[in-house]
């Protein structure tokens, strides 16, 4: 009787998740398998002749200087994720206290996240203007004679992109952290205060560990989202100047939709998937040492 009941419950459970699983299967797993097949072809969009090329695409990728350059740029881009996490946390802690204009400031910080990526890019291009932009105007005013070229030089362009991305992500991180901070028990803080803990100690020993599950969530999703995002880069620099802001996801896009080299683009996108998998696995394993539940 118990077994029958459990089996019926299980069947019911499968029925409930069925539509979602069908969606994942149809729109994710099947296309993914198809793209894996493309890795071994020289398929070009609009070209009816498709040939099997074995490991040629993989060999080409492993010897492709642009692939490694894109990988390096992707790593630099990923640096924005922990920075935006830290800044988001700091702002959330501040806005969680009793201060003036709290609601207004929360809305202002969140605004970038819900703004169109193209609008964000356009505004930052104006801000980063080397000669007429307000940022360099300010830097010159405080005595820096040769401020950076930001998006217009190869050495500074990727860091300029990072600044935009940090600004973009910070608001979202702040909102999630604010929610997490509501779960920190005031009683713990009061007990710590009674025992003589200073605000810095309370932050480091109580608040930060208690929101570590949130940090983990934001870190994992931030990493994955950042590796896959290229819209802001496409809108500002199109991967330039030179190749200095071409990240892997943009490189996939260029090969697929600019050169129509679907086979090679699939190869790089699978490499990207493996990289995401490795990074996520590292984070997942690493969480045992710093995430508290």
């Amino acid at each position: 009787m118990t077994n029958n009941w459990m089996r019926r419950q299980q069947r019911l459970g499968y029925i409930f998740i069925g539509p979602s699983m069908i969606g994942v299967l149809l729109f994710f797993l099947i296309p993914a398998a198809y793209s894996l097949g493309l890795v071994f072809t020289d398929y070009k969009f609009m070209n009816p002749n498709v040939g099997f090329v074995g490991f040629d695409n993989i060999n080409r990728m492993l010897h492709d200087k642009l692939f490694y350059l894109s990988l390096k740029n992707t790593v630099i881009f990923l640096l924005a994720v922990p920075v935006s996490l830290a800044l988001g946390f700091v702002v959330a802690v501040i806005l969680n206290q009793r201060i003036y204009l709290k609601k207004v400031l929360r809305a202002l910080y969140f605004m970038p996240y819900i703004t169109s990526g193209v609008a964000v890019s356009f505004v930052w291009m104006l801000l980063f203007q080397p000669k007429q932009g307000p940022i360099n105007g300010f830097l010159r005013a405080i005595g820096i004679d040769h401020p950076p070229g930001w998006l217009s030089t190869t050495t500074s362009s990727m860091f300029a992109i990072d600044i935009i991305w940090i600004w973009f992500l910070m608001g979202y991180n702040m909102i999630i952290y604010l929610a997490a901070l509501q779960e920190v028990s005031p009683e713990l803080l009061e007990a710590a205060k009674i025992d003589g803990a200073r605000p810095g100690q309370m932050l480091r020993k109580i608040i930060w560990p208690l929101v570590s599950p949130t940090s983990f969530l934001l870190l994992v999703t931030g990493m994955i989202m950042t590796i896959k995002t290229f819209g802001i880069i496409q809108a500002t620099t199109q991967g330039g100047p030179g190749n200095s802001t071409t990240i892997l996801s943009l490189y996939v896009y260029q090969n697929a939709f600019r050169y129509y080299e679907m086979g090679y683009a699939s190869t790089i996108s699978w490499a990207l998937f493996i990289i995401i998998l490795i990074i996520t696995a590292i984070q997942w394993i690493g969480q045992k040492r710093w995430v508290h539940y």
Binding site: V24, L29, W150, T154, P241, I276
Partner: protein, 440 residues
């Protein structure tokens, strides 16, 4: 038991990463437009895809046709002539959406579509002789010896000049000038912190294509010719203009600010602009671009010392193909013939003159200049559009080669690498490309 748990954990990890990757994806595009149901034997509807905004000519052209041909109605679909736009067009063609006619704006795009079999072969149609109508320059648009479209417009590239500034400096309007002479003009015309010469990014690289179209992109042994001495000359002289002379905009600055070069020219800020016929779309627009000076026109300056050794970009353009899968190819052909032989005259308002010898050139010129004829030096305009006999080429460079070149010269103009490294890298990357794409 522990081993089993590990395997389940790993599979879960893969699924979690997959789902997270999937969930992070971008939004979906809008629905494809459903085609109208056609009543049997009634009105035929054609769709023409082009990159010119409808209000800059196409809509008026189609209104003219639709008024006189109630049995064949043509609708215009705009696509932006960039990566996304061309992808949209190609996807529409490949997925069988209603595309009856489409305009190709470069020979490399046309070649790609011909290779995939989506452009109808027009060489079998004998009631319209494209060579005869469009003249010898139509040859540049043959692909494997055949026409898969009709090149419909005269394609003019020129340097636009502020004639008042030239007169003030006692400089004649050039009809044949070298790169060095252009540099001299830029120095003499430069005022204060302004530039003497500025370039639209579309024809920016044309001076070296002028050389290589003549000399060949590959050497006799099949290797890259991107290390041609005149390529080096172009790189070095432009770098001098950007840095030491400050007579033209630094490339990094121009790219990142998406410098509005037409506006800078039309406001009188910069006296010389390297551009093409589409300038007229803006220069005829006195509402947004009021100006008080006359515009003169000069051919694009040449890098080669010897004029006999020179080709220039131009000839014909706006290569209109009929979709090989269209259900109404005959009607599309009727429209295309009409369009090419003068139906397209309203396009001249945007600088696109009909190429056909049977088109009414006077009407087109009237449409192009409107009531603004007095604001142009018409002698030099006629020269660059009609009378310049310099041999022309059409851009056939594949996008990959365009990109590898621009990536390397951008690094050079931004002082990220020196001239020798730049030349070596261009050659190396071009040779790598040639290895996997032997036809070019």
């Amino acid at each position: 038991m522990r081993k089993k748990g590990w395997l389940a954990g790993f599979v879960s990890l893969v699924l979690i990463a997959s789902v997270m990757s999937g969930c992070s994806g971008g939004g979906s595009n809008g629905k494809a437009e459903l085609s109208d149901a056609k009543a049997a034997g009634a009105v035929v509807k054609l769709k023409m895809w082009g990159g010119v905004p409808p209000e800059a000519g196409p809509q008026e052209v189609l209104d003219d046709w639709n008024k006189d041909h109630p049995e064949i109605q043509v609708e215009y679909v705009r696509y932006v002539n960039d990566d996304e736009g061309n992808l949209k067009l190609d996807t529409a063609i490949m997925t069988g959406q209603d595309v009856d006619l489409f305009v190709n704006y470069s020979a490399s795009q046309a070649t790609k579509r011909v290779t995939s079999g989506v452009a109808a072969d027009l060489s079998t149609l004998t009631d319209y002789n494209i060579d005869e109508k469009m003249g010898p320059e139509a040859e540049n648009w043959k692909i494997d010896g055949k026409f898969y479209g009709v090149p419909t417009t005269k394609s003019s590239y020129f340097v636009a000049l502020n004639k008042d500034a030239l007169d003030a400096a006692n400089l004649p309007v050039p009809k044949d000038w070298t790169w060095e002479e252009m540099m001299e003009y830029a120095k003499k015309l430069k005022q204060g912190d302004g530039y003497g010469f500025i370039q639209n990014t579309e024809p920016f690289v044309d001076p070296i294509d002028s050389v290589l179209a003549k000399e060949g992109y590959t050497k006799a042994d099949g290797t890259s010719n991107l290390d041609h001495p005149l390529v080096r000359k172009w790189l070095e002289s432009l770098n001098v203009m950007m840095k030491n002379d400050a007579t033209t905009a630094p490339l990094g600055e121009q790219l990142t600010s998406k410098m509005p070069v037409e506006q800078m020219f039309l406001s009188g800020e910069v006296p010389m602009l390297n551009i093409g016929a589409w300038l007229l779309r803006s220069s005829n627009n006195f509402t947004d671009y009021p100006r008080d000076f006359k515009i003169a026109f000069a051919p694009v300056p040449r890098l080669a010392e010897d004029a006999a050794n020179h080709m220039t970009r131009g000839g014909l353009g706006d290569y209109i193909s009929i979709n090989a899968k269209s259900k109404h190819q005959q009607e599309a052909w009727e429209f295309l013939k009409w369009y090419a032989d003068g139906g397209m005259s309203p396009m001249a308002a945007g600088g696109r003159l009909p190429a056909s010898k049977d088109a009414d050139q006077e009407a087109a010129l009237k449409s192009m200049l409107g009531d603004k004829g007095d604001t142009y030096d018409q002698e030099s305009l006629m020269y660059v559009m009609f009378d310049n006999k310099t041999p022309t080429y059409v851009r056939t460079v594949p996008q990959e080669v365009m990109d590898l070149r621009s990536q390397e010269y951008e690094k050079y103009f931004l002082d990220s690498q020196d001239i020798d490294t730049t030349m070596a890298e261009m050659v190396k990357r071009h040779n790598e490309y040639l290895k996997s794409n032997p036809q070019k």
